[in-house]
């Protein structure tokens, strides 16, 4: 299947996962306490360990979720960053949708 035939829906295909491999591996690493401590202590040094490019590092350090996904990040890995620097899934969703959180909850999820 051609993964991007559905509008605004980046599927995790061969090209995307290859592009995002280091970024996702970095995030996957946060599943162990020692790596979480290393991330907290010196985020830049932790990211360097995984060979992240300058634009990948910028996206992570700015918590730019839309950009991380554009660079091949997959939310299931990236979410481990939110365990260290708490942010709700709906806020990550709102950021990607280009909406403020309240608008996102109301317009996309039908909350009042």
């Amino acid at each position: 299947m051609d993964p991007d035939r559905i509008p605004d829906t980046p599927l995790f295909d061969r090209a995307r996962q290859r592009r995002g491999y280091n970024l996702n591996k970095m995030a996957m690493g946060l599943g162990t306490p020692a790596n979480r401590d290393a991330f907290r202590a010196d985020e830049s040094a932790y990211l360097n360990r995984f060979g992240l490019s300058p634009e990948e590092k910028r996206a992570v350090m700015a918590r730019d979720w839309r950009e991380m996904v554009r660079l091949g990040g997959n939310v299931f890995y990236l979410l481990k960053i939110s365990a260290i620097d708490p942010v709700r899934m709906t806020e990550i969703g709102a950021h990607q949708a280009g909406m403020d959180h309240e608008t996102f909850l109301r317009e996309r999820l039908g909350k009042r």
């Binding site: 605004d8 995790f12 599943g31 939310v75 365990a83 260290i84 969703g93 990607q96 999820l109 039908g110």
Partner: protein, 282 residues
């Protein structure tokens, strides 16, 4: 021989587990969802299964992109809750049913499936949350042994819905040919509609979700014939995991009785559902 007594389906949204951890069950956001799952848990208490075969996907916790099995079968004696970034959740270790896991692998290979065999692995919310919905939160031990079936629904190419349905039929043959008096349930997990990535993030589709809950019982052939693209379009990029319910449905008889259905939108960003099916008495 072993007996299949029910086919169950439930969402596995991590926020459901987090809501239980934080004691939010009775809050206005969560009470309507949890109240609707009570009959599913009551069914399990009344029918007392011994074994649960749980079809789910790992969410980048146990498997990384270095090794991506399309289908993997748990043949371990135990499965610990995995650290998803917050530390492992305080729920009991799951006892495995290694003997059935191996029997299932034997039968699958003879049925022309070629699964990965897994003997050491930890399990994430994809398995934990449905177990909590159907069996509550035991203090020390779960009332059933589990056999996890891991399905890759993240890294393309993901399997075809039709292949998931066929896997369920082979699973049924394995249960029917297992020399034991144990009572089995098969639990399909995931969905319903949700999308977590891209500018369509937050997409849900209550109409398609309700149609799925009706047709998983009445017209599973329609759901199995749909393409992966149909699933992504109708249920969202992450909602496509709903095809894992077809493994459960494929294990059931063609004619089933619906004992319970529940739908709630949204649980976090997801259309959340539950179903309880029994084979129609002959």
């Amino acid at each position: 021989m072993a007996q299949l007594i029910g086919g169950l389906g439930a969402s596995h949204v991590p926020s459901i587990g987090a809501a239980l951890d934080k004691g939010l069950r009775e809050t206005p956001d969560w009470k309507p969802f949890f109240d609707g799952t009570v009959p599913g848990r009551a069914w399990c208490e009344a029918n007392r299964p011994d074994v649960a075969v749980v079809i789910f996907n790992d969410h980048g916790n146990a498997f990384f992109l270095d090794k991506v099995p399309t289908f993997a079968i748990g043949c371990a004696e135990e499965y610990r809750p995995i650290d998803e970034g917050w530390g492992p959740r305080a729920i009991p270790v799951f006892a495995g049913h290694a003997a059935f896991g191996w029997h299932l692998v034997d039968r699958l290979v003879e049925s022309h499936f070629d699964p990965m065999i897994v003997q050491e692995i930890e399990v994430d919310h994809g398995l934990q949350v449905p177990m909590e919905l159907f069996f509550g939160r035991p203090e020390t031990a779960w009332p059933v042994k589990i056999v996890p079936i891991f399905v890759n629904v993240i890294q393309y190419p993901i399997p075809l819905p039709a292949r998931c349905y066929q896997l369920g039929r082979a699973l049924r043959q394995a249960i029917d040919s297992f020399d034991s008096d144990e009572r089995f349930v098969v639990i399909g997990t995931g969905g319903l509609s949700h999308q977590l990535q891209g500018s369509r993030a937050g997409f849900t589709n209550a109409e398609a979700d309700r149609a799925f809950l009706a047709d998983i019982a009445a017209d599973p052939d329609r759901l199995a014939a749909m393409s992966r693209e149909d699933y992504v379009r109708l249920f969202g990029s992450e909602g496509a995991e709903l095809m894992m319910w077809l493994v459960m449905r494929g294990a059931m008889d063609r004619e089933v009785e619906v004992r319970h259905t529940h739908y709630h939108l949204p649980a976090s960003m997801t259309g959340a559902g539950m179903i309880v099916l029994e084979n129609r008495a002959a």
